[in-house]
Point group: C2
Chain length 222, copies 2
């Protein structure tokens, strides 16, 4: 059996869990607090970040983008990167948009201020940082509105790695209750479609003790 | 003919130029000062960043990772992502390491302080930021030393997308004269091998008026 080192509120870990579930690939989940920089974990991934996938044969895979491409190559069906080369490039462009741009502008601020500061005993969240994150989040939701006004899913008519990546990151922001869905009805419709997928269930069922998500958090019809 | 929107000291643009040259794919280069946020450029890439590749048929490709995978799919030879699935994942892990981690910890600080502040009239570089960049750079060079002590190129015995990405970013730091090669002999040997490739020539020949690189900058035997 393979093992996925992950953390419940790590968006890149959530992405890989969604990809595994979409492709019905089993993996043992091992929780890793990567901010503790455990020595044996750093040997697996010198970048010191979850997710890391360890295959039963011993292969160690790190970086969520590299792991997603690996899973796509090993288990091509159902495909998450598909179509012509330009269509595949559009899926990867949007996966990178959420995996890097959204991550830097939203996810890392929220997780850093609301979760890591608490775990590391660094005091209260910085409200200026949180305001910036929520401001940025609004612009990303506008972009999702724009995309799904033209397409059923972010990169086209079919669920792809772009949707999986966006959902992984949005689900973390949503856990913290920071997504104003009412101002973004098209993005909300899209997220309802994504949330109703069986592959999202595992991710949406996780809870951090003492940090409850909003009531609607795991309901597809929110 | 295809067009590549790029900037001379943008490491992701350099990566795509190196990939194009490795695969002998021709492209018209168009200089784009992406920090000016030109409206027609934002229509091509709402992320507002170079590189952007526009194919003669009209396909628009953005995000250097997505463009590199696109070029690999369209022109598989010579391959830059190759081997078994775990080997391909290792190439992609290291490409992401330099394309994202090195970029955030080194390239963006150097370009931001030494180039953009000047272009935007924002005053002198912040020496604390530059010290942080040079400190981080040293750690990345240690990692290259470690890798090429075991392998001829970063991800294995053959030049790959990992080397192309690392070279793109290191060549920008080297342009600013910030790389202490003497302290990193193994990394230096690797970079000499990479610099001697024909595909690096175009990138290494570029100059920013009024900002000269060190004398050894484009010499393979430095």
């Amino acid at each position: 059996m393979r093992t996925l080192y992950h953390h419940v509120l790590s968006a890149p870990s959530r992405l890989i869990r969604i990809v595994l579930a979409e492709k019905s690939i089993e993996a043992d989940l091992k929780a890793e607090k990567d901010w503790e920089r455990r020595r044996d974990f750093l040997k697996l991934n010198p970048a010191g970040e979850v997710p890391v996938l360890v295959e039963s044969g011993g292969s160690v895979l790190a970086d969520s983008g590299a792991i997603a491409e690996y899973l796509e190559e090993m288990w091509p069906e159902p495909a998450l990167v598909f179509g012509t080369a330009p269509e595949r490039a559009e899926i990867r462009r949007l996966a990178a948009w959420f995996g890097h741009k959204f991550s830097r502008e939203v996810s890392e601020y929220l997780v850093g201020e609301k979760l890591l500061k608490r775990f590391l005993g660094l005091g209260e969240p910085d409200s200026a940082v949180l305001r910036a994150a929520v401001h940025n989040l609004r612009i990303h939701l506008d972009y999702i509105d724009y995309l799904v006004d033209r397409r059923h899913y972010l990169a086209g008519d079919v669920f792809s790695l772009a949707d999986a990546t966006a959902a992984a990151h949005l689900s973390v922001a949503d856990y913290f209750g920071d997504v104003d869905w009412s101002a973004h009805p098209l993005a909300k419709d899209w997220y309802m479609r994504v949330k109703s997928r069986r592959a999202l269930r595992g991710v949406l069922a996780d809870r951090i003790p003492g940090l409850e998500p909003p009531k609607y958090y795991d309901r597809p019809d929110f």
